[in-house]
């Protein structure tokens, strides 16, 4: 780091003594990486931590001034400025404020796809007993509105929710009516494979300001392999549906998600190119979830975490290359982590929060009225594990759900600040606790970090991002910042590519 100011000695004597503020550290790229309680970081030369703890650091050095500026130390000429630090800490935990924001309604288990990695136990398209009843929908809407959050998201999913379109037509206006009565903002998203979407449905969504989220796993050969359906035309249906949805709802109201299966691992570049070709400006390189059908079919769809990390790094490198070429496309997981690393803010992404987002920030209302802590919790229930079933809309209230044993057990294992292996971790501020994942994969909500796929993935991805930050390549950092701020990469940067 270069400084163009005169040395401190020209203005004031160096303080004789300094004190430490709380921080954690790790070693990366031959340096020590320090991260303080608010997630601010500093790369420092190896040996700095030792000198800090021995209070042997030169208080007249530029390094000392950097440490002081980033609030790793304080001295008599400064104060701990606890108010500022406390404000930053509170901002980092902003996701805890207000209560549950995301409410997922599983309106039906019916689906005409038979994806091997499917996260639910889909039922055949004609078995109406797996649809949510009007009475259950009414109770779920009330419970959703009982959340103290002033802004709610209602996510309607399945199965394939469009197979229960009449129920969507009931839920949407009822939820809106109650939201107005309670003075809440309400966003509504329908998660659909778009195979059976019609223009009438899309016109309804347009009129009701309902957004659409769909699945796109990559090019046709990959998407159709991952997502079989009668006619073997899932890809063609999805693309046609995306185009019609965009024409009626507008580009910004149609999103796509991909799932990485074993078949995807060799095609990171092709998957990214498919998203670019289809005009998307974000892609989420998501690993497969170890739940639901993915457990039964893991010998075909699963893979080791190391394979996913290789896929992610290759995909990210290609996405950065595409951005350098002038097309803006952000990788969502990177965007989420960089927001935590480079800004004071938290994110709304419930899978990467501590305390964990499960229950606290997301509730799932199953077709039968059972309430789960997350979508993954419901998938476990489909495998006959009801650990995270918090209650039922017909028997419980929000209060009884949040004070019941399942929720309290979950909350106890929800803070990475107090988990073995996490409590000392330099990346704690950026990472999360995931009791549902660890229960599913290790049989223990608290989890064993050295053998945790969640820990291995996040640790390696965060290290990779810090390596990019440490390299400090102008174009790369400009692109990464543009993902956080949403600003376009300037022409000058593209011209450098």
């Amino acid at each position: 780091m270069t400084r163009e100011f005169n040395s401190l000695e020209r203005f004031a004597p160096a303080p004789p003594k300094f004190h430490l503020l709380p921080f954690r550290f790790t070693r990366l790229n031959g340096k020590e990486l320090l991260v303080n309680e608010t997630g601010e970081f500093l790369f420092v030369p190896t040996g700095t931590v030792h000198r800090l703890t021995d209070e042997r650091l030169d208080t007249g050095s530029a390094l000392y001034q950097d440490l002081k500026a980033k609030q790793f130390v304080y001295d008599e000429s400064s104060s701990p400025l606890l108010d500022i630090l406390a404000t930053k800490v509170r901002t980092k935990f902003d996701h805890m404020c207000d209560g549950t924001k995301l409410h997922i309604f599983v309106v039906t288990l019916r689906c005409e796809h038979s994806c091997e990695y499917c996260q639910v136990s889909r039922q055949t398209a004609t078995r109406g007993e797996f649809d949510m009843s009007i009475a259950t929908a009414d109770r779920a809407i009330v419970m959703m509105m009982d959340s103290p959050a002033p802004a709610l998201t209602l996510e309607i999913q399945g199965g394939e929710p469009l197979l229960a379109f009449d129920l969507i037509q009931y839920i949407v206006p009822e939820a809106k009516k109650l939201a107005i009565e309670r003075g809440k903002d309400l966003d509504i998203v329908v998660c659909t494979n778009l195979a059976c979407v019609t223009d009438d449905m899309l016109l309804y969504f347009r009129d009701e300001c309902v957004k659409v989220s769909t699945s796109l796993d990559g090019p046709a050969f990959l998407h159709n392999k991952n997502r079989p359906r009668p006619g073997h035309n899932s890809y063609e249906k999805a693309i046609e549906g995306i185009e019609r949805s965009r024409a009626i709802l507008g580009m910004e109201n149609v999103a796509a998600l991909m799932t990485t299966t074993a078949a995807s691992l060799d095609y990171a570049v092709e998957i990214v190119n498919e998203y670019v070709r289809r005009g998307f400006h974000s892609i989420f390189l998501r690993p497969i979830s170890p739940y639901g059908f993915a457990v039964k079919t893991r010998h075909r769809t699963g893979y080791e975490i190391e394979s996913f990390l290789e896929f992610y790094k290759k995909g990210l490198a290609h996405i950065l290359k595409v951005n350098r070429g002038g097309y803006r496309i952000a990788e969502v997981y990177t965007q989420i982590l960089l927001t935590k690393i480079l800004t004071p803010n938290s994110t709304r992404y419930v899978d990467m929060q501590s305390p964990a987002g499960a229950a606290w920030n997301v509730l799932v209302y199953n077709f039968d009225g059972d309430v789960y802590a997350s979508d993954e919790s419901r998938m476990l229930a489909e495998m006959r594990d009801w650990t995270f079933r918090l209650g039922n809309v017909h028997k419980d209230t929000r209060r009884t759900i949040f004070t019941g044993d399942p929720a309290l057990q979950l909350f106890r294992a929800s803070c990475n600040q107090s988990l073995a292996g996490c409590s000392d971790c330099a990346f704690q501020s950026y990472c999360a606790a995931d009791p549902v994942y660890h229960h599913a994969t290790q049989g223990d909500m608290y989890g064993h970090r050295p053998t945790s796929g969640f820990c291995a993935r996040n640790m390696e991805v965060i290290k990779h991002l810090f390596s990019l930050i440490d390299e400090n390549d102008y174009e790369t950092m400009h692109i990464l910042w543009s993902w956080i701020t949403g600003e376009q990469v300037t022409r000058e940067v593209v011209a450098c590519a």
Partner: protein, 138 residues
């Protein structure tokens, strides 16, 4: 002085590392063993007041090509955890105050935490940072 001796057990399978308990506390040793528990089963015992002994037995899936580098990695990790322990000792008080302060203003705590949270110099200024950031008190 070699504070961290190491030998292999007679069957050559285990790695035994001696640790100076004056440098590495029992808690630090356990934290280090925790992170080695993916690849090894770890047994620790105190030989005497000065020395602890760690026996690392590779799990079936683990191949140890170079015991010396395993020993180095273990000791490096132990020293890092010892540093973390020292940081924790020096900063846990201020960390508690910091978190209490952060959450008291979010309305989570029923009572104001004890202690002085402001900066006296800043508080005295009419346009000080403390005044700008501080929440209005009833």
């Amino acid at each position: 002085m070699d504070q961290f001796g190491s030998i292999r057990t007679p069957d050559g399978r285990c790695i035994v590392i001696e640790i100076d308990r004056g440098i590495v506390s029992d808690e630090v040793l356990l934290k280090t063993c925790y992170w080695f528990s993916r690849d090894f089963t770890c047994e620790t015992h105190g030989r005497n007041d000065q020395l602890a002994e760690v026996v690392l037995t590779p799990r079936d899936s683990t191949t140890v090509a170079d015991p010396a580098s395993t020993k180095d990695a273990f000791i490096t990790s132990a020293m890092d955890f010892a540093l973390r322990e020292r940081i924790e000792t020096k900063t846990s008080g201020i960390r508690d105050v910091l978190l209490a302060k952060a959450f008291s203003e979010s309305g989570v705590l029923e009572d104001e935490p004890l202690g002085v949270f402001g900066d006296a110099v800043e508080e005295a200024k009419t346009d000080g940072m403390f005044k700008i950031l501080g929440n209005p008190r009833p």
